[in-house]
């Protein structure tokens, strides 16, 4: 297999985050300090070597960046201030853009203007569809309240249409993400190697995928257990919300005001709490900058946090206004909620920071496949 050097790789990589790509003198402290680095999957040092040498193909074929959960031990002990932790983070951004065949991810990561423009564009589309498109189909603002004093949400935002739209969006996002994951799989398992993995291994190790998606056991191995808990709440809250909104919207978006102990409301409250708790910890961490992992925030990190926080807040407002019978306020919050949620899902999930929800569990799965690879 030939090896291709790309002398411009470093200049390209710098766009994905902070880091002195040249500082490392290869003492290996970071690798040995890392609680997740293991034989066959050594990082961060080896990855830094690839970056320095401009071995883009080898980087593309690396699963290791996704196995790092950023505890920051490497950065604290690095004798050269090379900041290996943040280099791995930047590398994950780079990998995301490499897997993405549309090329949009690279644009979003390297140009704030581009990313903001697209967010605003989608937001305007959403607002326009509520203000112009839906009314032209006969769905109107109504100040009439339901029998129990709630706002008639469904007359303004018809469930059938919203549900169809949700499904469409979910399918688009899932297709993009899955195609990118296939590219990740291909790059790591096949393209740059001369090994193969049997079908049986693929099936046998599938459980890892689900287990890692649900629990993130690797994250808990990183020394900061507290962050694993807050991340888990965030992740579980988000997953519940996503499923409820896409699959069970008719059950969730009701006009009737159900009792507080009703599963619909309990589930909603749990998800909201989980999201808020996780977001609070992450935002406070990034503002205080005490932990290494929170010290270097890329614009994409802040955008992600800001959009998710706004989505949750507008969601809470919809709920409060609806059960208190405030139609105008409900409708405005609904539009705002959708105007943030839609661009966030369309941009963040397939192309940006949020794609890690798929890449991370798949990386563990692919790494396990790699361990079972045989020469072809």
């Amino acid at each position: 297999m030939s090896v291709r050097l790309n002398p411009d790789l470093r200049n390209e990589l710098v766009q994905y985050g902070i880091g002195d790509w040249n500082a490392c003198y290869h003492c290996g402290t970071c690798t040995a300090m890392c609680p997740l680095s293991e034989e066959g999957f050594l990082f961060p040092r080896k990855k830094i070597r690839l970056m320095q040498m401009g071995l883009g193909d080898q980087l593309e074929a690396s699963v290791e960046p996704w196995l790092c959960y950023y505890c920051g031990d490497c950065t604290t002990t690095c004798p050269r201030d090379a900041n290996p932790g943040e280099l791995m983070m930047s590398l994950r951004r780079f990998m995301t853009s490499r897997y993405d065949w549309t090329g949009l991810s690279k644009k979003f990561y390297t140009s704030e203007v581009w990313e903001l423009a697209w967010i605003i564009f989608f937001a305007i589309l959403v607002v326009l569809s509520f203000v112009i498109v839906l009314p032209s189909f006969g769905f109107h603002y109504t100040s009439e309240l339901t029998a129990d004093g709630g706002v008639k949400v469904n007359s303004f935002a018809p469930i059938r249409i919203i549900e169809t739209f949700d499904w469409a969006m979910a399918i688009i996002v899932a297709t993009l993400l899955m195609s990118n994951i296939l590219r990740m799989y291909y790059a790591i398992i096949w393209k740059h190697t001369n090994t193969k993995v049997s079908l049986w291994v693929h099936i046998r190790e599938l459980w890892l995928l689900i287990y890692n998606f649900m629990v993130q056991p690797k994250f808990s191995k990183c020394d900061s257990k507290g962050y694993w808990v807050s991340h888990w709440f965030l992740m579980s809250g988000y997953t519940i919300m996503f499923i409820v909104i896409v699959v069970f919207l008719p059950w969730f978006q009701t006009e009737e005001i159900l009792p507080v102990y009703d599963p619909q409301r309990l589930l909603g409250y749990y998800a909201t709490f989980g999201l808020l708790f996780g977001l609070f910890i992450a935002i406070v961490g990034r503002v205080k900058k005490k932990e290494v992992k929170f010290q270097f925030s890329h614009i994409s990190d802040w955008l992600f946090l800001a959009m998710l926080t706004l989505t949750v807040i507008t969601g809470i407002l919809i709920h409060i206004f609806r059960i208190n019978g405030m139609p105008m306020a409900t409708y405005i919050s609904y539009i705002a909620h959708m105007a943030i949620l839609v661009p966030m899902i369309l941009i963040e999930v397939p192309f940006s920071k949020w794609s890690h929800l798929a890449y991370r569990p798949f990386a563990v799965y692919i790494a396990q496949l790699k361990k079972n690879a045989v020469p072809r």
Binding site: Y25, H26, C27, G28, T29, C30, T31, A32, M33, S37, E38, E39, L42, R45, K46, T77, C78, P79, R80, D81
Partner: protein
């Protein structure tokens, strides 16, 4: 010099500031008051490259360029090329190197102005700013009696001049006296050093002042007045016969400084058997009598009447000297600062000086390598009663080349680590020895050959710094990455030796402030010129020798000791010494420049 001169001044890469930063606005105002100067730029003003500089040269029609700042030579090429590209003389690029002339902070702004003035008027700074001579007192004071100080003392005294050799501890010899062998020749360190120590003691022109500290230095080059604190030994140096009866009877003990704390000595003690002067002394901090007023066991045991005087007080001595050589040496990095290596937590993680004592044939174990063990009182000491290790690991670069601790390379650790490996195999031939390094710096004469020899002796020399040491099943587990083979290292060993780096000695800062000698960012004394005057300082009559100027091995320390002595001898023979460079005011320099090159 012609009146059509049009000079552009570029301030480059502002030096690492020590204290208040240099005021560039003030400096700019000063140079712009001169008619020859057309314009000045700061490094931050625009992106420097051949093209942008060429544009500046052309738009301002510059005939001459001065690059001022730290290491301006690194960018000189850009300017020469830019000048050539615009059809000007590429030779008309001058450097005003701040670091070369010790300009580090706002305090040196006057010197910076003088330097720029010289550059603008095209007169070498050395000519315009060479200070006047003054008569010199032929007596010399040497601060620090390690190998560098001893060498300098012998050289100067050998030229029939009086030398005061001052030492902070109770014996001369310094760090070298604690070593067993020297690299790369594996000579016996004591066999080289002890004769020199004895020579110093017996030399008619050397006045030995041990257990002394410099308190104050007044005066200037050629005529310093030095106030010295003579700490009370409480044992009469002239009458003590060194029999040791007192120490036998002394009930108090403390860790031995000479053995790097690995053995216990009495409160009345001789630092080591070959100490010079070979006399006992009392450690006031552990002496029972001095704490409680009762005991006097030593006084009762001493066979010489009135030799021990427990009530002796510190006293002050005043000296007049013409030259001073600073040879205060280094201290080793405190490995406790790197918790990951477990020094201070695991008894068999040793630092370099401790292991030197363990290897030393005249050390606590007569040169046999044994585990550290606890004595009856619970002190961790070296004795021959414990077992011998079979697997030993040496970790390089502990506290050196590390931005969290010391950025500099300590220069000697690679070589002494290789020496350790050799000596371990010499003493325990069946031992397994591992060395974990980042880069092997075998830079001196015969050093690379020594490295190859150690490799052939069967030492496992592995590239990759150890990340941490943990105790597991009574062994020390080393975790690291083998860079060459790309594998994780997990190695259980019996003993870990940390190659601790070199740091400026504790007194460097105090002495530097007292003598007004600046230090570089990493704390070593700043020499007058790194290349051409490494022993001189910015102050006339004050010289540097040995590792107080930067990490050095024994041959280099000896060489610098001799070099500093040569400068002192030169001034004594001439009868004159240069005053401080800083003694000249900007006004003086301006006057001289006008004499040398009057403005047309």
């Amino acid at each position: 010099m012609n009146d059509k001169d049009s000079i552009g001044i570029f301030f480059y890469n502002l030096p690492v500031s020590m204290g208040e930063p240099i005021d560039y606005t003030e400096l700019t105002r000063y140079v712009q008051s001169m008619p020859q100067v057309t314009k000045t730029w700061l490094y931050t003003d625009f992106q420097w490259n051949e093209d942008t500089i060429r544009k500046k040269v052309e738009s301002h029609n510059l005939t001459r360029i001065i690059i001022a700042g730290a290491l301006p030579g690194t960018v000189k090429g850009l300017f020469s090329k830019a000048m050539a590209m615009s059809g000007k003389d590429s030779q008309s690029v001058m450097l005003a190197s701040f670091n070369q002339y010790g300009i580090w902070s706002g305090k040196d702004s006057e010197r910076a102005r003088a330097l720029l003035l010289c550059a603008i008027r095209d007169i070498p700074y050395e000519i315009a700013a060479t200070p006047d001579d003054t008569t010199v007192n032929p007596v010399t004071l040497i601060i620090g009696a390690g190998i560098a100080g001893i060498q300098a003392a012998l050289e100067i005294a050998g030229g029939n001049n009086l030398v005061y050799l001052l030492e902070k501890t109770g014996t001369i010899g310094g760090k070298m006296a604690t070593f067993d062998k020297t690299f790369p020749t594996l000579d016996c360190a004591a066999c080289i050093l002890t004769p020199k120590m004895v020579e110093v003691n017996q030399h008619p022109n050397i006045r030995l002042m041990t257990y002394c500290e410099v308190k104050e230095v007044k005066g200037e080059a050629g005529n310093f007045n030095v106030r010295i604190l003579q700490k009370a030994r409480k044992v009469n140096v002239t009458t003590c016969i060194g029999c040791g009866t007192c120490a036998e009877k002394c009930p108090a003990s403390a860790p031995s400084e000479f053995d790097a704390g690995t053995t216990m000595r009495k409160a009345i003690y001789m630092p080591f058997p070959q100490a010079v002067p070979n006399k006992y002394m009392i450690d006031a901090e552990s002496c029972i009598y001095l704490k409680t007023g009762k005991c006097k066991a030593c006084v009762k045991a001493c066979p010489v009447p009135d030799c021990i005087n427990l009530d002796e007080q510190d006293k002050e001595v005043s000296l007049n000297v013409g030259n001073i050589i600073i040879a205060t040496g280094y201290k080793t990095f405190d490995a406790m600062k790197m918790e990951q290596y477990g020094y201070g937590k695991y008894p068999n993680v040793l630092n370099a000086l401790e292991f030197e004592r363990l290897l030393n044939a005249s050390g606590p174990t007569s040169g046999n390598i044994h585990f550290r063990s606890q004595d009856k009182k619970g002190n961790w000491i070296f004795t021959t009663e414990s077992d011998k290790p079979e697997k030993l690991a040496i970790i390089h670069c502990v506290g050196s080349r590390d931005k969290n601790h010391n950025k500099h390379c300590s220069r000697v650790c690679c070589m002494y680590s290789l020496k350790f490996a050799h000596l371990i195999l010499e003493k325990i031939p069946e031992a397994e020895v591992y060395e974990y390094f980042i880069d092997m710096r075998a830079f001196g004469k015969g050093y690379e050959e020594f490295y190859q020899r150690i490799k052939e002796e069967g030492v496992s020399i592995i590239r990759g710094k150890t990340a941490k040491v943990e105790e597991k099943n009574g062994k020390l587990l080393i975790r690291g990455e083998d860079i060459v083979n790309s594998t994780l290292i997990e190695n259980s060993v019996d003993m870990v030796i940390l190659s601790t780096g070199l740091e400026p000695g504790e007194d460097t800062k105090r002495i530097g402030e007292m003598l007004r000698i600046p230090s570089t960012a990493d704390g070593w004394f700043e020499e007058a010129n790194y290349n051409t005057n490494p022993t001189g300082t910015f102050r006339g009559g004050i010289m540097l020798a040995g590792s107080c100027q930067g990490p050095k091995d024994i041959p280099d320390s000896v060489a610098q000791g001799s070099a500093a002595a040569a400068r002192v001898l030169q001034s004594i023979i001439r009868g004159h010494v240069s005053k401080d460079v800083s003694a000249l005011s900007l006004h003086d320099i301006e006057k001289r420049i006008n004499e040398l090159s009057p403005v047309i």
